[in-house]
């Protein structure tokens, strides 16, 4: 290193020292949600998925309105039409416009999935929260019950229920919820137990906060993350289950449409008219993929350990 022989003497005077600067902390602090939202936005795949889902949702709600055809209207002069300007997704063996049918079916599928998810949340969160907050013997008994229920393969129960109850949308929703809440209950219970034992709850108690406030201000916001993420995965699962049931013939049936019914229909005539299978298949795959990516993205975004 050079010796800097030519430096002016003034440089060797004392510099001004700012003591406050020294304690400066680099980044501003954010709440968990703000931080999570920012991180989620960085995840391009998740953002695109969210966008696609919103698009699909809008189509499902408004799509059939824009089509000039009714989803159930048959037209035997125009059966098995390939996609054209008249019929954007073609027609089926009854001459029904597929565009209207697919969006109507999506609407039904999404409705079923969301309703089932809501029931899951309602029953599951309540059960899990009560179990975790009550603690002691009550918790132990409720836990045992869950452990047994978890061992039951849910699809079988759903199939049986579907056979016994009158066919219809309500039936499917109830059947899926009867087995679906268990997982949510487990997760919620685990999360609340974890939070209960953490130090900030202890701190709040020491500071004199009453129990109700603790639950509202601390437990619920931190459990929301778990609930939301789990829902992101139960919805596609519900869509799949409904489609599966319809495919093997015990879900919804004609003339009602759902994605499962449409795919089943498309399968029957697959060898001649693949478009009847492919379009509803694309929609269902898109929905499931996007929920999956969004769910993963949310999980990563809300995980405090991944904070940079």
């Amino acid at each position: 290193m050079e010796n800097y022989r030519d430096l002016p003497l003034e440089l060797f005077e004392k510099a001004e020292v700012n003591l406050d600067e020294k304690e400066h902390i680099a980044k501003p602090s954010l709440t968990a949600f703000q931080d999570g939202w920012i991180r989620l936005k960085k995840n391009k795949a998740a953002v695109v998925s969210l966008f696609i889902l919103i698009l699909i949702f809008l189509f499902a709600v408004f799509g059939p309105i824009f089509s000039s055809y009714d989803y159930a209207k048959t037209d035997y002069h125009h059966t098995f039409q390939l996609p054209s300007r008249e019929h954007i997704f073609g027609t089926d063996q009854f001459g029904r416009d597929q565009f209207a049918r697919i969006w109507y079916g999506t609407r039904i599928s999404l409705l079923i999935a969301f309703a089932a998810a809501c029931l899951d949340i309602f029953v599951g969160v309540t059960y899990g929260a009560v179990s975790a907050l009550a603690g002691g013997k009550v918790d132990a008994v409720m836990q045992r019950i869950i452990e047994i229920l978890v061992g039951i393969p849910s699809l079988i129960i759903i199939i049986l229920l579907m056979m016994v109850m009158p066919a219809g949308i309500g039936t499917i929703i109830i059947a899926m919820s009867i087995t679906g809440w268990v997982n949510m209950a487990r997760l919620v219970r685990a999360q609340i137990l974890k939070l209960k034992s953490q130090e900030f709850v202890l701190a709040a108690r020491i500071l004199g906060t009453n129990s109700r406030k603790i639950i509202l201000k601390h437990l619920i916001p931190n459990t929301m993350g778990v609930i939301v993420i789990n829902t992101m995965f139960t919805i596609p699962s519900a869509i799949f289950t409904e489609a599966f049931l319809s495919f093997i013939g015990i879900g919804l049936s004609e003339p009602r449409a759902s994605l499962g019914v449409l795919i089943n229909n498309g399968y029957q005539v697959l060898h001649n008219f693949p478009h009847l299978l492919i379009y509803p298949a694309i929609v269902i795959v898109l929905i499931m993929v996007c929920f999956s990516i969004l769910g993963d993205g949310l999980r990563d975004a809300l995980d405090p350990r991944m904070r940079k």
Binding site: M1, L7, L9, L11, F12, E13, K14, A15, H24, K308
Partner: protein
Amino acid sequence: MGKILQVENLHVEIKTELGRIQAVRGVSFDLDKKETVAIVGESGSGKTITVKSVMQLLPSTGSITEGSVRLEGKELTTLSEKEMLKIRGSDISMIFQDPMTSLNPTMTVGNQIVEVLKNHRKDLSRDEMKRRAIEIIDLVGISNPETRFKQYPHQLSGGMRQRIIIAIALACDPKVLIADEPTTALDVTIQAQILDLMKELQEKINTSIIIITHNLGVVANIADRVYVMYGGKIVENGSVEDIFYHPQHPYTKGLLAAVPKLHEKTDKLFTILGTPPDLTDPPKGCPFAARCLYTLKVCRQYPPAFTPFENHHESACWLHDPRAKRMISEVRNAG
């Protein structure tokens, strides 16, 4: 005595999402045979990256942008990975901080020692390797070595695991042993035992040791010479006595002052205010300028050169410059 290891003007960069971190900015040090050198500094000073560069164990985001590393005269920075593999574990070994996580939990400790032998001592038979491994387990002070050989890491205590880690490092009689905070994760009583073990083994195997630590007690216990690092640079180096009893650099003085002394009564513990510099945009001048209590204007703009003191003792600080001394005396005379 010939120099075993010579590091000259080492510059290391790490690419991160936040930018390029200049983690090591022109570090030079050397190591004699059977010597123990301590590198002291806070987290973020660059000490771990420096020694990882010696072993060419930088993460994929890191690279040596300038400088040389020579082991017994042989240049290491230009070696291929294949050639480097022969050196790691046999000529130069490294042990890390946390013994609880540094061992493979699904492999017996004996096999983890045999693994390094298999890699470098292919001349030995399997039985010979096993015997040597058991010998080494005994050497590091673990009783019942044959039984321990077959055990898994979770069956050993923290101190024992660290001994095994030392055993693995010394299995092939390395010329240099690098120890990165080897005692930080251990209880105080075990710390002393491990340091004693290292000294004992150094005698037996004739190995040179580089020990990284932020604990001055460890330095006093085991080191011959000390390098003090801050902000990616070496700010002072010298023998242990010189550093402890005649520290020249304000940072070194600060470190020593921060160690609480039993016999002194104080109300407040001394700390050096502030935080280490951001190395994505490193300070132009002296790295310590922002936190130093004696900062001069020149300190912020130009990096100081090393001023030599007696006995291979050096310190890089503008306060040693005659011009600074003149300014201080002028101020004193004026006031």
